[in-house]
């Protein structure tokens, strides 16, 4: 491991100053991702800027008009234990409960969770990878059982086919959360909130991060809006084993029912793209319709619309459909389990 400098930041300004000015500096929160990447030599930062001590960004606050503001340094364990999260955002609570292990959740921050790097084994190992600066993506034609179905545009090896690993991001997407990003030099009043889906980008050779953030940009808050009355939520995650595994495919569903009519449905898919993948077409078709087996079939088919299996991940298509079906069952029929 390459030696690096370490600064425990005492203010956000100080952190941002170093991060935006020093090439090779890296923001360090819980470190559960950054440290493992550094140890493996996948990234070699010169300077770690630790923001964990900035207590101002570790909070849960009710928003006026409902909803919840979550400081980016809040740990996943703190979120998981919060009653409001449990009662009003069960999909988020569930997505955290199936993230990693308790030890990990005690350490990992929600901001770091959104900004973590892909788990792609080509990226994290000594394999050809665009994000290492290589000419081709090794996964595109290799062992891609854990890779993307959507959004990568082309499997010619010029595009990263990794998926975003976060579970909470999928739930937050279905809950239509926003993230507040502090840009260096901007006064807090000017910090803008953007929809969570817009935070992510497909990593590229020149810009190998999973987010659109520039050096010095810091996610400071996540805002989860109040959900419609009577909305039902679920988060389902398919894994290779019962715990401590990333999602093969996951689904967050948020439904608002008016009698047996689906007033609103939001479906976000995890493990299938470089960001939480919203099944917008399926959502549209569902809106305003009475729940029926035919409607469910249609939503299920549309959720997989446009899927482009890479070879070894063909199974993700039926898996995704199966999970969406089970998620719909869970949010539309209280009498039956998943």
């Amino acid at each position: 491991m390459k030696p690096f400098a370490y600064t425990a930041a005492t203010s956000l300004d100080q952190a941002q100053e170093i991060l935006s000015e020093e090439w090779g500096s890296r923001l360090y929160a819980g470190g559960t991702d950054l440290l493992t990447l550094t140890k493996r030599g996948t990234v070699s930062p010169d300077h770690l800027v630790d923001i964990k001590g900035l207590a101002d960004f570790r909070y849960l606050r009710h928003l006026t008009g409902g909803g919840l503001a979550i400081g980016a340094l809040t740990t996943l364990a703190e979120l998981e234990a919060n009653r409001t999260v449990h009662r009003r955002f069960p999909a988020l609570a569930r997505s955290i409960a199936v993230t990693g292990t308790p030890q990990l959740r005690n350490r990992a921050t929600v901001g770091g969770n959104l900004c973590q790097q892909p788990r792609c084994w080509y990226y994290r190992g000594d394999f050809p990878c665009l994000l290492h600066g290589d000419e081709v993506c090794g996964a595109a034609k290799g062992e891609n059982a854990y890779h993307a179905l959507f959004g990568y545009e082309s499997a010619d090896g010029n595009r990263c086919v990794a998926v975003h690993p976060s579970d909470p991001a999928v739930a937050l997407s279905a809950l239509e959360a926003e993230v507040v990003v502090a840009v260096p030099g901007e006064a807090p009043v000017n910090w803008e909130a953007t929809p969570i889906d817009d935070l992510f980008q497909q990593p590229t050779k020149d810009f190998p991060g999973t987010t659109i953030l520039n050096p010095g940009d810091v996610v400071v808050e996540i805002r989860v809006p109040e959900q419609p009355k009577g909305s039902r939520q679920v988060y389902l995650k398919a894994m290779d084993r019962a715990a401590w595994a990333f999602a093969l495919v996951s689904v967050a569903a948020v439904a608002t029912l008016d009698g047996n009519r689906l007033a609103d449905l939001r479906l976000a898919l995890g493990g299938v793209a470089y960001k939480p993948w919203r099944a917008r077409h399926a959502e549209e078709i569902a809106r305003g319709h009475v729940v029926s087996p035919e409607l469910v079939d249609e939503i299920v088919e549309l959720a997989a619309e446009g899927a482009m299996p890479l070879g070894a991940n063909e199974y993700k298509v039926p898996l995704l459909k199966g999970l969406v079906r089970q998620a719909l069952r869970a949010v539309t029929d209280e009498s039956r389990g998943i």
Binding site: D240, A242, A243, L248, L319, K321, L323
Partner: protein
């Protein structure tokens, strides 16, 4: 008087005839009805406190004054020629003392392959070793070694490697028909001709990695010309022998120590190349050297259970009697290695006059394989027991009934009756506990299945010259109509029950020796050169000595894991420790007891025959007032130790000693997501007398859990483009977590195996892993109606099976519309 005897010893499923030294006549086994008060008790481990409090020192914990740290540079290529190596950069790193490469490695009497080769046949092959004052410096220096490799064509896929035009690991080719292990009994052609029903199937199993908690490693220290090694090994005496040979030392100048073990599972049976490297670097620098492998090296270069490609064919009469078994195995051994006895179950488990097994080693550009808990039998049981369930379906017979129909009372390859075989009892107990009858009456698959469709496969695989219809494809898959399912299940879930049988050795044998020293305060020290691989050997041996001497277990201390602490003890492998070392300890304790009684006789002025030793007293039988407390007796002797010697007697010649068992699995398969959930395992095993039910249950649970990993999630992944291992960590190599463990009910078939040895006990280390995967796969077969052929049962495989099921159902529906006959008549057997 020591004497030389010839005896048959079975290790890891293979028989060896050996000359062994035994001491005098063996004791008879404790009879079945003998009330034992220490043996048979569920005692917690004698070293539990040391382990929990961290005072137990594992190899990783060894710290010596002035100790250096070494690391190994390993080949990044699956196959390459080493063109040039320049270590000057590494030597310039502050703190680095030496670098070893093929250019400067001293000549050794090491019997293994070169420590550093110039043709590197797998990713992870040793290229150089660096020793430095700390681990960080050694690790940094690895990056500073500049190496020029000439990459060579490689093959990492088992199916590709058997093709004649595959890249070659060695110039001679990847599959050697000469070195194949072929077994023939009777005439299989005739057997198949006599059969009314023939089933055939292909199976694939994945490479399973041990991933011991404690990685491989050694600490080596020279004191003048003497070498001491703290090694993570399953065989201290084996390592001593090889190191003495390697360094040309008298054996008494090599001491090997292994006090506490963080797992071996077969991967630590030999002498590690890292051990020899550490010893060399320690000699060169004159300082102790610690060389521990990391998790990644563990996954690349320390052995694995070979992956297999298996073809099996069974012939039977309509009443279920087997007429022929043919089993062909291709095992991906890696860059070198051995084929474990994958055909063992086919040769032994069922009574069948005509059997042929062929086991081929296939070399691959991957790390060498090694033994892994019941090597071969785990893989072979998947195929045999899967095919037996196929046969049961084809015959419309209950799987247990079919197995009982072919129950073997003799070991057929050796033509000897079994010393004891509780398999029938295991079937009965297991079936009852699992509720096997439900399979017929309340909803699992009907006994007679309708065969919906047969789905064809692709090409065949066989070694050059051979033409059996082997390899995946070429065999038809059957799809069966599922029976009614239990009512409590939602329609997208299917429940299934499956079972599988287990046969294994585990009878142990000589040589194994022990010493029992009775101290002046009547406490006892048992010394033997075996080691505790983590199964609880210390505890069990203490119980045996305490039983024979009739003293509390707490008064016994067991010294082991040190070539200088006790007489020879065997490798901890093949489930043989209890059955080999246990009897030696009992014999030594009996020898000590004899001496004590003789001494008491002169003190009490009694005849030896009149005296008994019981509950810490020697007394005249019938008149307890004429007696003396053991403690008083030993105190009278001054500072003197009564020392008893004992050895394991030869194995019986007229019977074959084996362990048996059966496991039952209940699973639920989610048809929508392909999730396989094992809801319950019932494990029933016969290992003779159980010395400690608590340590036994740990073995059964551990075996089942490791078997579940093999069945459901553990799989080495290799990148086809670079030939490098993608799963070389515990994130991507998926062992089961606590949440993956189902309810495990287990029972040991009661009874001692009196012919086996003087304890009547057999091993329990390996048996419990053997049938788990087969039982799970058979349960999934029961649930889905389509037999899984490839393990582990990950989503891609299960979802593909479900897809085929749906296609078959659609085909039948389509057929039903155009006339019913086809599905009804043509499909039913």
């Amino acid at each position: 008087m020591p004497e030389l005897r010839k005896t048959v010893v079975e290790i890891e499923g293979r028989l060896h005839e050996e000359y062994v030294v035994v001491d005098g006549e063996d004791l008879p086994a404790w009879p079945e009805d003998r009330v034992l008060s220490r043996v048979g008790q569920p005692l917690p481990r004698v070293d539990a406190r040391a382990k929990v409090t961290g005072t137990a020192r594992f190899t990783h914990d060894i710290q010596l004054p002035g100790m250096l740290h070494a690391r190994i540079l390993r080949s990044p290529h699956p196959h390459a020629r080493l063109r040039r190596i320049d270590v000057s950069g590494a030597l310039a790193v502050p703190g680095v003392l030496a670098v070893l490469t093929h250019e400067n490695v001293p000549e050794l009497g090491w019997p293994g392959r070169p420590l550093f080769d110039t043709v590197l046949r797998y990713q992870g092959a040793e290229v150089a070793a660096v020793v430095a004052v700390d681990e960080a410096a050694a690790t940094d220096a690895l990056d500073k070694i500049s190496v020029e490799y000439e990459p060579l064509p490689f093959v990492v896929d088992l199916e590709a490697a058997v093709e004649p035009d595959a890249p070659r690991v060695y110039p001679e080719g990847n599959v050697s028909a000469d070195e194949a292990s072929v077994y023939v009994r009777g005439d299989t052609d005739q057997g198949f001709a006599e059969a009314d029903v023939v089933v055939e199937a292909n199976f694939r199993t994945a490479a399973q990695l041990h991933n011991c908690f404690e990685t491989h490693g050694s600490v080596c220290s020279w004191d003048g010309g003497r070498l001491t090694v703290w090694d993570s090994t399953q065989h201290v005496f084996g390592v001593r022998k090889t190191l003495a040979q390697a360094f040309g030392l008298p054996m008494h100048d090599v001491r090997v120590i292994k006090q506490f073990m963080g797992g071996g599972f077969g991967s630590k049976g030999g002498t590690g190349r890292y051990t020899v490297i550490a010893a060399l670097l320690a000699r060169q620098t004159g300082r102790p050297v610690k060389l521990l492998l990391d998790r990644r090296e563990e996954n690349l270069a320390t052995g694995h259970r070979h992956n297999t490609l298996q073809y099996i064919k069974l012939g039977a009469r309509s009443d279920g009697t087997l007429t022929a078994i043919y089993h062909q195995v291709f095992a991906g051994v890696g860059a070198w290695g051995w084929v474990a006895p994958v055909g063992g179950p086919a040769r032994e488990l069922y009574r069948c006059p005509n059997v042929k097994t062929e086991e081929y080693a296939v070399c691959l550009n991957l790390g060498p394989d090694s033994a892994f808990r019941a090597p071969g039998y785990v893989e072979g049981t998947v195929a045999l027991e899967g095919a037996m369930d196929d046969l049961a379906v084809a015959l419309g017979m209950d799987p247990i009934e079919l197995r009982l129909r072919n129950y073997a009372d003799t070991n057929q390859p050796r033509n000897l009756p079994y010393s004891g075989k509780g398999l029938r009892e295991a079937y009965r107990i297991g079936a009852e506990l699992m509720g096997w009858h439900l399979r017929e009456t309340t909803g699992y698959l009907p006994r007679k299945r309708t065969i919906l469709a047969t789905l064809g496969g692709g090409g065949n695989h066989s070694p050059e010259g051979e033409q059996p219809p082997a390899g995946p494809g070429g065999v038809e898959d059957l799809v069966c109509w599922p029976g009614t399912q239990p009512e409590d299940l939602p329609p997208h879930r299917r429940r299934g029950l499956g079972m599988a049988s287990q046969i294994w050795g585990g009878g142990g044998g000589p040589p194994a020796h022990a010493e029992v020293r009775v101290n002046p305060d009547a406490t006892v020290t048992v010394a033997t050169g075996t080691q505790d691989i983590g199964t609880g050997t210390r505890t069990v041996l203490a119980q045996v000595a305490a039983e024979e001497l009739s003293i509390p277990v707490e008064h016994v201390r067991v010294l082991l894991g040190d070539t200088e602490a006790g007489p020879y003890g065997p490798i901890s492998a093949g489930s043989l420790t209890v059955a080999s070392v246990g009897p030696a300890v009992r014999a030594a304790a009996a020898d000590a007891r004899r001496q004590l009684v003789e001494l008491a006789a002169s003190l009490l002025d009694a005849k030896v025959e009149e005296l008994i030793l019981k509950d810490g007293r020697v007394e005249v039988a019938g008149s307890p007032e004429r007696g003396i407390a053991l403690r008083e007796l030993t105190a009278r002797l001054g500072n003197f130790m009564v020392t008893g010697h004992g050895s394991r007697g030869p194995n019986p010649e007229d019977v074959a000693v084996h362990t048996f068992g059966a496991q039952f699995a209940e699973v639920e398969v989610d048809l929508e997501t392909g999730a396989v959930e094992v809801t319950r395992i019932v494990a029933v095993h016969d290992s003779g007398r159980i010395i400690n039910p608590l340590t036994t249950s740990s073995q059964v649970e551990g075996g089942v859990i490791q078997g579940l990993g093999f069945a459901l999630s553990e799989e080495r992944a290799v990148d086809p483009q670079t030939g490098r291992v993608l799963s070389a960590d515990l994130e991507n190599y998926r062992i089961p977590t606590a949440l993956d463990v189902p309810i495990i009910d287990h029972v040991m078939v009661p009874g001692a195996d009196l012919a086996a040895n003087n304890l009547g006990a057999k091993g329990v280390g390996e048996p419990p892993i053997i049938p788990t995967a087969a039982a799970v796969a058979n349960a999934v077969y029961d649930a889905l109606g389509i037999r899984p052929t490839d393990l582990p049962l990950t989503r891609p495989r299960v979802l593909a099976a479900i897809k085929r099921l749906e296609e078959a159902a659609q085909a039948v529906e389509a057929g039903a519309e155009s006339g019913k006959e086809q599905a009804g008549e043509g499909g039913t057997r």
